[in-house]
Symmetry: C2
Subunit: 341 residues, 2 copies
């Protein structure tokens, strides 16, 4: 059994640096596209056998050291009571954005077993099919990131509605964050109890905040969620996209592992994070469009710079892009293994 | 004559912190909208009297300490030979993206007096009409930012084409950057000779690069442009959006002033930048949607944190948003002046 990933999360000795890729189950794999051509995106997320199938594909094809449950961060938002659709062009489109107390009051804190049983079933299938080959990571959007979708009603450019609510109606915003945080805790606790061996909180949009607002308004919810989840004894990874200005704050999150995006100088991040957490990251996903030798150079550079960390899990600094040549992703994983031994 | 802005750029003593706002001439002002309702955006840029008129509006209405020429960063790109259009929905749309040697060869290094005389005429009018009331800032996109538009053909999400060229065809990319850098130098030199009393290089998209790529591939062009411009003896401001991970590199740019976005902890930035440069920034533009007291608190916080800098020019961390209530922008300027005295 390959438990290199779990060991690196805990800062234990490993014989090679473990690696997985954010969005490793995805469109850049023709095997994924084959499955996806037969069902729409949400059906794929909600059919345990299919979700499990695409989750395992990158373990077989790339040789990564961890599997991550195939799902979408908006699944629990739908379960909270918002209508969810995926448009090929615009991405996720949610029903009526929540911008008032009456809107927020309508949202519920869903019970995962009741309203998202397919997630727990997929985890059960995966644990059986993986047979300990590699650990399985569960995940959820972090509270603020889910809040932006709920308030904006989808993706956004400047997140004006979210920030307006933060600044103009703090009580409403905090009430919403309370509900979302409770949802995230329930959802990840259920994933862990169903068999997830680590969990990652994706804070894809926290990087749009000033350090002031992040620390003052958002960070208490992050810490509360992580504290509740660490009780289960599995590693908690906290990934924040565009986090270069936030690292000094994030180090106090309580997570076992901090995931950083590619805009961060990982040498600098490791210094700031100190010896109590492991680090995950952070190759620019676009480097996978470069020639093989260049990819190797960049892998080596990141391995060197992250070396002083308590533990290092190699990853991209953001999700792998759909246009990525699969053979380059394979070469990257191979290079991480070879160069870190 | 109010030369507080120029003094702060040079790190000289001032009796209050000078302030201006990126995109201060713009849609959030009804006086701007009145002018704009009669002509399209490009005509406004290219009609010296009108460009001068909207440039002065925020000096009168907000009481800012500097005027910045109203124009668009793609004006010199059009002069290099690319077709340029503005769509209300999609923003700038350029003709055939440049992705080959033949495409790059077709671009010219334009002479500003020949191909963009309207810019120089607007500056001449402005110097006369401002009569030294406040200094006039000229500007240009920085080389990499202009390159992204030229290679992507407009705005982009992941800048895959730009990075592909950087990684797969370094010679082509560098040839293009040479040409763009020469254009930027010519363009800003002409603005200075026409009367611009400071210039700002906007690197709106350099923040999408890893520190590794930024330092290795892009930074030499930044330094070359700044070095050429500093010969004229007017302050050079270098603003990089999303620069939290790049500050340790940027400090060596040679610019008189480094402008930072709102995601940066300005206290941290000031420490890293040292005593040889002034700092500009960095209120989140969305804070202008907050109640008056909150705006004041945030102004005070930034003034305190930037205080140890050689000089501080207060600004937003990015362009003011079209939806901003004008009275809040006025209140912000007033608060900067009052609280910094």
């Amino acid at each position: 059994m390959n438990d290199t990933f779990l060991k690196a999360c805990r800062g234990e000795k490993v014989d090679h640096t473990p690696v997985w890729l954010m969005r490793q189950a995805g469109r850049y794999l023709k095997e994924y596209q084959e499955v996806r051509s037969k069902v729409d995106f949400l059906t794929l997320c909600k059919t345990p056998e299919l979700a499990a199938k695409v989750t395992i594909q990158p373990v077989d094809i790339l040789g990564v050291d961890a599997a991550i449950l195939f799902s979408d961060i908006l699944i629990p938002v739908e379960a909270m009571g918002m209508h969810l659709e995926f448009s090929e062009k615009k991405g996720p489109v949610l029903g009526e954005p929540v911008r008032s107390k009456s809107g927020a009051d309508k949202l519920i804190i869903p019970d995962t077993e009741d309203s998202m049983p397919f997630v727990l079933e997929a985890i059960a299938i995966l644990r059986q099919e993986l047979r300990g080959r590699v650990p399985l990571i569960g995940f959820s959007g972090a509270p603020f990131t889910l809040a932006t979708y709920i308030i904006e009603g989808g993706s956004s450019k400047n997140f004006i509605n979210t920030k307006k609510m933060m600044y103009q109606n703090r009580g409403l915003f905090e009430g919403l964050m309370d509900k979302i945080t409770a949802t995230v805790i329930e959802y990840l606790s259920a994933q862990i109890q169903a068999g997830a061996q680590a969990v990652q909180l994706f804070d894809s949009w926290a990087g749009i905040l000033s350090p002031y607002d992040y620390e003052e308004i958002i960070f208490p919810y992050v810490k509360a969620a992580i504290k509740a989840l660490r009780k289960f004894g599995v590693p908690v990874i906290y990934f924040v996209n565009d986090c270069a200005g936030l690292i000094k704050i994030i180090r106090k999150s309580g997570a076992d592992v901090i995931g950083v995006d590619w805009r961060v100088d990982i040498e600098d991040a490791v210094k700031k994070l100190g010896k109590k957490v492991s680090v995950q990251g952070n190759l620019d996903p676009c480097v996978l469009f470069a020639p093989r030798e260049h990819i190797e150079d960049r892998v080596q550079d990141i391995l060197n710079k992250a070396f002083p960390a308590r533990g290092h899990i190699f990853n991209l600094g953001h999700g792998i892009l759909p246009e990525t040549p699969t053979e380059n992703a394979i070469a990257m994983v191979e290079a991480v293994h070879r160069l870190s031994r």
